[in-house]
Amino acid sequence: MTAHSNENRQASGASLKSYVLGFALSILLTIIPLGVVMGGWLEGTAALVTILIAAVLQFVVQLFFFMHLREGEDARWNKLALVLGAVILILIVGGSIWIMTYNAVAQ
């Protein structure tokens, strides 16, 4: 039983290769925003958008390469719960920024 599930897990990608690749991508996605902000590669909105995209991409790297989102019997439910969480997260953060920015303008 245990041996069987071990085989499954290894076949589905929890390998040294995927961890090393994930780690390398994470480092790259940390160096890019550092270069943008400290190295002055970009400015203003372009810089802001770039570092936010790098952060989201790095979250995705953690999910797929380290947390193995797509694996296991419950993968579908994991993803469903994550989507629900993401929707509420965007509503809370986006909604707060939107309302409070408008509030500042209105006053």
């Binding site: 929890a14 810089a47 790098a54 947390m67 509420i88």
Partner: protein, 206 residues
Amino acid sequence: MAATATEHGHGHDHSHGHEEHNQESMKVFGFWLFLITDVLMFATLFATYVVLRNNTNGGPTAEELFQLPIIIANTFILLTSSFTSGLAVLAMHQGKLKQLIGWLAVTMLLGASFLGLEIYEFAHLVHEGATMQTSAFLSAFYTLVGAHGLHVTIGLFWMIGIVLQLAKRGITPVTERKVNVVSLYWHFLDAVWIFVFTVVYLMGVM
């Protein structure tokens, strides 16, 4: 206590073992649901911080306060610890107990260095007169970054507990699930830190 009971059942009965495997995977799913609720908690803290970050009440601003070198070091420390906790899981799947404990120890050491630097940073800020009571910006800052630091602290003690269990019981379906869950938690903390790093520190000095 329940753990030892199921452990025994596993060796004896195949069909029972299968059921137990399902139960273990249900527990991992349950933990995943907890992580989603934790995401929501951090979402509210991030929203609060972003809304209040310019309300400095005449006190120091983010740009004046933050020392990026410490933060950059901490980012790479936590990133590496996320990787080493992954290596621990990998060693576990290969049945290598010593390697598993070794990688967990490295992960804990990196986690402790992260905390040490964060405490140093907080102490430094307070010394500069930037306390939680100074402004809405700093209240939101300490709450958000402190909540993450508290998670890391809990994770450290949790890992110590799991290493003790591993040393005593070895790799069983139950300890295997526990290592999987704590590593999930640790990767999650790294993911949250990426957003702290970007939204609080990088956007703070931009």
